[in-house]
Amino acid sequence: MKQEISALMDGELFDDDAEAVLDKLKRNPDKHDEWRTYHLISDVLRQPDHVHANISIAIRERLQAEPTVLAPRSRASHNARWFALSAAASVMAFTLVAWLSVQIGSETAPQIAMQQSNVVHSVSLPANGLDDYLVAHQEFSPSLDVYGMTSYVHTVAHQQEGK
């Protein structure tokens, strides 16, 4: 019978013989298991990703047979394992960040500064100290060529700002 089912599935039987085998299967339900098994084998061989093996019943029976254990778990070893895992994860994350910052750090630093500066509202300069820098800068700034002495207004005017 098994050989006949196999031959039928492989399409090796003539029409008459195939009908005879199918009739036999209809009449004998106990042969259905064989039919399913051969289809399972066939499926596994052809499409291993989509196997229709109904194992849930077997598993449920095995679980019901198992005795229920009422005892505290061995926490120590469990925690140690998790701690080790999380520590390893932290180290990896840190390494990744460090690696990224080494890779792109020098390039992004000015960019970050740029974005922040949009938010920063600069304060007015203190009265002393920076005038010297301003005057020294204005001596050479190209704005002097175009604006002339009016560019020095930044230094002349600032006294008002302090009030």
């Binding site: 630093a109 000015p110 500064a113 740029m114 500066s117 949009n118 920063v120 600069s122 304060v123 007015s124 300069l125 203190p126 100290g129 920076l130 010297d132 820098y133 301003l134 005057v135 020294a136 800068h137 001596e139 050479f140 700034s141 190209p142 704005s143 060529d145 175009v146 604006y147 002339g148 002495m149 009016t150 020095y152 207004v153 930044h154 230094t155 002349v156 005017a157 600032h158 006294q159 008002q160 700002e161 009030k163």
Partner: protein, 324 residues
Amino acid sequence: MKARFALIVVSFFAVAPAFSDTGRQVDLDWLQTIAFATHQTDYSGTFVYQHNGHMETARITHISDQNGEHEKLENLEGPRREFIRNNNEILWYLGDHKAVQVERQYSGKSFPALLPEQLSALNENYFIHTAEQARIAGFDTQAIVFQPKDTLRYTHKMWAHRDSGLLLKAVVLDERRQMVEQYTFIQLKIGGDIERTQVTTGQSATTLQQQSHATPSEISTQTAMNDWKVVAVPSGFKKIMEMRRPLPGKKTDVLHFVFSDGLAGISVFIETLGNHFNRKLGLSSRGAIHVYSKEKSDYLVTVVGEVPPRTVMQVADSVRYKGQ
């Protein structure tokens, strides 16, 4: 027929670029005219200066004669502060008693013309075009816009007197078209009889504190300059000067680098930390000029420029010492 068609094609290609060139040349010519007028015209006037929500008035007088340029800028509000310039010599008055002499330290620059390199730099970094005509302080003006090609510099708009080329109004705008600073003449006299006394008053009542200042021959441009490097100068800015110089109130010399994009300047000052007393670090501003100071190991780095805050910060953060 064929020959005529060819002629039309040839003349089109010959004329079209010529037209676009002249358009640009006119705008650049305006800038030359402004620079010339700023330094060669006699004028005296009062202008309003607006910045950071403040508004104040100042007076400027400028005379150009056979001895050169004489100029005075004074504020008209609050404690007296003024600059008096005689060619390269600048006197700077604080209050009623103190005068600080600042000497212009470069003589290679011949006013009033803009250098060709400066004009080409302007062309590379800004879209320059003429805008509307307007009436300011009773004079007819032509507006010229300098639109930057990136956000690392400001937009400048200037209104020049159509006859003399004198700047009667100027505004600096940020990338959101918000005003950063502006000055406008409200009263102006161009040419004619400008009182000479206006540019020479003030000395008699003051004690002159002459600061130590170097002459160009004393400035050594090579010493230790190679040790310092400014890595991230925004594109379009070229180094136009580097030197070791004294600065009023500093015991030791400072290193001074200047970068220019044709219109805006960025100065980088580097000095030992011992020089700085109670200096506030970080960002400060005065109108369109932003200053950013930070410590770099044992040194103080100060960046000053007519550029947005982000630009001075970027430059200051990129200062490196000998491969560090």
